[in-house]
């Protein structure tokens, strides 16, 4: 008879769990509250069936448990009962389906007044594109994608020149205005999902998909990729900031247009050499770094990475954490490079420096390090050479003690947790796969083998 009691208790426990569970939908931030209503309706209907069927099951087991004195009832079928049950079930199912289809037709038909923004996915980052004044997005083709044109915009298409490009993983949307999000992927399947908005849709390479919604409250909401897109799927995060309309317009004007990105200043190594004199004090004349001064190797680092990091230091994205005294030093030094031009000049000069192989200072198990590095190498390259396509810097040729410091910083959240650090959060999550110091030493010992 245990089973009878257990069944009844399970039914009660399930219902109680449902009502007391603190784990339930996050407060909605879009116009799709009708979806929540459909779910409530579905809960009422399915909940009733669940309780009734299982309580009846428990009753039957109790009432008709084996009894030597009786026999089971012989009844092959009961047409009336079966037809009745089919009809009731059909009505219940229709009651859930009808509102569902009705709301789906709303989802399928995008309102005409909706403005549109494009979200572009790639392994494992988001970027966004909004139309310029002409209200038209320029043509794109993955064949145009390269380092200076990551969106793949057709350079000859006039409509694309004024497209506003958002390189970061943060999208702003104006409050209470319906928006159609055009979704495009450069490489594999991704999925644009914001739990507070309730709606989501896959990004499919080779085509443009879409979804629409109206943000109904201001705030900052996370974008989670919800279609498995490779090894770093779980770090593919972004953010939607819902602003008032004025704030949105202001934000939009701070983002570059495609034409602007094409006219970007090219660094001049000759000018950079002059500014580098300051850097050389710590980083060395050849950019070889200095362990005594905690200065990393600079030669061999790509210009795009150097420029980004200098920019981060200047803006306080990096080096502002109270537990990062070394970063604070660098922050002060970076401030001497006032303009973007100065930054790219220095970066350009550093490209001219010869590659100098640093000495290994850390010992570890190379074999074990290799197995950790399988994951790292996906982005940083199998030989630690770095990949612009995923914004991953070169690791080979860097001082191992510096890398160790940075991994520790990522692990403790000293680096990478600033909300404007676009790719730092990925390293914060990824650095967790190295559970302890030994693991870090092992992986560094393996990276040292590239030199």
């Amino acid at each position: 008879m245990k089973i009878v009691i257990v069944l009844i208790l399970l039914v009660i426990a399930t219902v109680v769990f449902h009502f007391v569970s603190p784990w339930y939908f996050t407060p909605i931030a879009s116009n799709w509250s009708s979806i929540d209503d459909t779910i409530d309706l579905t809960f009422v209907i399915t909940g009733a069936v669940f309780v009734l069927v299982n309580l009846f099951l428990a009753y039957c087991i109790y009432r008709y448990r084996h009894n030597i004195k009786t026999r089971a009832h012989y009844e092959p079928e009961n047409k009336k009962l079966e037809i009745g049950l089919s009809v009731v079930t059909t009505i219940g199912v229709a009651a859930m389906l009808a509102p569902g289809l009705f709301i789906w037709s709303e989802f399928v038909n995008v309102p005409k007044e909706a403005h549109f923004v494009e979200a572009v996915g790639q392994q494992w980052q988001w970027s966004f594109r909004a139309p310029g004044k002409d209200e038209v997005l320029g043509k794109v083709d993955s064949r145009f994608i390269n380092e200076s044109n990551p969106f793949g915009i057709d350079p000859k298409d006039q409509a694309g020149q004024d497209d506003v490009l958002v390189f970061g993983n943060e999208l702003h949307l104006p409050l209470d205005k319906p928006v159609k999000l055009l979704l495009r992927s450069k490489d594999v399947l991704h999925n644009f999902a914001v739990p507070q908005f309730r709606v989501k849709m896959d990004l499919v390479p080779g085509m443009v998909t879409h979804l629409w919604l109206t943000p109904t409250r201001t705030g900052s909401f996370e974008i989670l990729c919800q279609e498995l897109c490779g090894i770093a799927h779980f770090v593919m995060r972004g953010r939607v900031i819902v602003d008032s309309e004025e704030d949105y317009e202001t934000w939009l004007t701070t983002q570059p247009t495609y034409a602007e990105t094409q006219n970007k200043v090219v660094g001049d190594p000759a000018l950079g050499q002059a500014s580098y004199a300051v850097c050389a004090a710590c980083h060395g004349a050849q950019g070889e770094g200095n362990i005594a001064l905690n200065a990393p190797n600079l030669n061999g680092m790509s210009d795009w990475y150097l420029a980004r990091q200098l920019d981060y230091y200047k803006k306080g994205v990096r080096g502002a954490h109270k537990d990062d005294p070394l970063g604070q030093q660098m922050k002060a030094m970076a401030a001497t490079l006032v303009t973007d031009k100065a930054v790219s000049d220095v970066a350009a000069y550093i490209q001219t420096l010869p590659d100098i192989v640093p000495k290994a200072t850390i010992e570890g198990d190379v074999e074990r390090g290799h197995s950790y590095f399988v994951t790292c190498g996906t982005c940083h390259g199998a030989k630690g050479e770095g990949k612009f396509g995923v914004n991953a810097p070169r690791l080979a040729g860097q001082h191992d003690w510096y890398l160790k410091q940075q991994i520790m910083n990522f692990k403790s959240g000293v680096r990478g947790n600033h909300k404007d650090d676009l790719y730092g959060v990925q390293m914060v999550l990824m650095s967790r796969i190295l559970p302890n110091e030994q693991a870090i030493d092992d992986v560094l010992a393996y990276i040292n083998t590239f030199n």
């Binding site: 079928e77 399928v108 399947l189 779980f234």
Partner: protein
Amino acid sequence: MSYTAIADQPEGESHDPDTFITKYIYSQDHKVIAIQYTITAIVVGLVALVLSGLMRLQLGFPDTFSFIDPTNYYQFITMHGMIMVIYLLTALLLGGFGNYLIPLMVGARDMVFPFLNMLSFWFYFVSVLVLMASFFVTGGPTGAGWTLYPPQAILEGTPGSGWGIILMLISLTIFIIAFTMGGLNYVTTVLQARARGMSLMRMPLTIWGIFVATILGLLAFPALLVSAIMMLLDKIVGTSFFMPAVVSMGEQLNYSGGSPILFQHLFWFFGHPEVYIVALPAFGMVSDVLAVHARKNIFGYRMMVWAIVAIGGLSFIVWAHHMYVSGMNPYFGFFFATTTLIIAVPTALKVYNWVLTLYRGNIHLRPPMLFAIGFIFTFTHGGLTGLFLGNVVVDLPLSDTYFVVAHFHMVMGVSPIMVLFAAIYHWFPLVSGKHLNDKLSRLHFWITFLGTYAIYLPMHYLGFLGVPRRYYAMGDTDFIPASAQTLNANITVAALIVGLAQLIFIYNVIRSLSKGEKSEPNPWQATSLEWQTPDFPPKHGNWGKTLPVVYRWAYDFSVPGAKYDFIPQNVAQEDVEPEDLEREGLDQDGGDGEISSEGVESMGDKT
């Protein structure tokens, strides 16, 4: 489709085994092949169980286990899913139970093509070896998720995108060949080798379930074969069937114009019927277990058969409900939401009929019955959550979250496994001639039943919260409270307990094979043919000198007017011993022996 009764297998084709090799390796006996299938499937299933334990460890206690990095994690989930769905459930239900039960239950000496049957097993075995080999190649097994969606399945950036995915696709191809050889055998045996008198509508529901599932498999697996071949070509030769122009990790690749969504359509055109390839045999077997242990005919046999056939047919036009948010033409959503919810109706009727079979029964709460009851509970739960996901708008917030994981584990993980255990506990005496230990069986049931519910009920709520599936680690988010991690840790503990509890089962089986209590023939007093063989357990050729003749359906339990509460299918009407007066008196005392008008009618028809 007319039925034909067959006299006997032709002479001169006997293949009586004599040596070890012909008896156990090169065996063409369906019972031996069934056991080979079962053991292989269970062994490979244990591998998948360990993989699931590992991934639960990572989810419950992130940052604790250094040997589980994202690469491994994605490989674990992929292999876990693929092994469980294809190499365990499909192989065990059809290759194992299908092989064992079809000839016995329809009254045949063996499958109609014994050699093909043997070949089927060995192809399956090779497919398992190829799959296992992928653990040992460079890069390891594929980590593309069990759905193997291109482009990521064959691009850098996914674990095992080299040899891993190639071996997976080759293994699937071999499995499909194995399944086709087995499947042709099952349908032909059911259609052409039934004993005299065994009309289609007299077959036990087990056979109906397996029969329809096999037809589904024969028609659905080609879709997987087609997509596997085309993906292999994309991967190895560089064609662009599914591959559009992409820039992978900053590099332009030579693909152009293919459609990843096309793969998803093919995959789910196989994938959805696959759910029913697993579910229908389970539906059938649980019906028989319920009827035998409740001493009552299955309620609404015809409705049950119709439901199996209807579900089988409908399962081919619901596939795109897995793709509501895939970017396919959104107008498809209307059609597929409707068909999906329609399929709920026959499914619900089956649940009602199982419960109504217990109603006014005479229920023996033996271990198989406990598992069958557990199945009704878990399947009801899983079926109802399916109504959330099938309804296209409700799927929007829930798809790709833990709600989906919880739903499909409830409906096609826990439920079929409940039935598998019910079936193993039910048919073990027939296979081995021994009883399993009752106490251990019950212990195994309670831990498995309560444990799995403790795993999956809370998991649905993680899904409501919006926790995405296939995340190696959640990290910090704004909307997921810290308590969700506590919940995850609890789920992991429950999962590990359930996983370990399966050792009880294995111990019980191994111990009972040698030391178990000897079972008398037909210990549950069942009516279906497999229990009526002249030898117990059945020997090679199953039926001794003459094949059985069938006089009735498989559910003549507690027939009013008969002496015993069961009449085997091969007992002629004139051989049924009438009820003695004493017995009748008892019935009236019990106060439960009243006969409805329906019962009287049918009894009238009979005599």
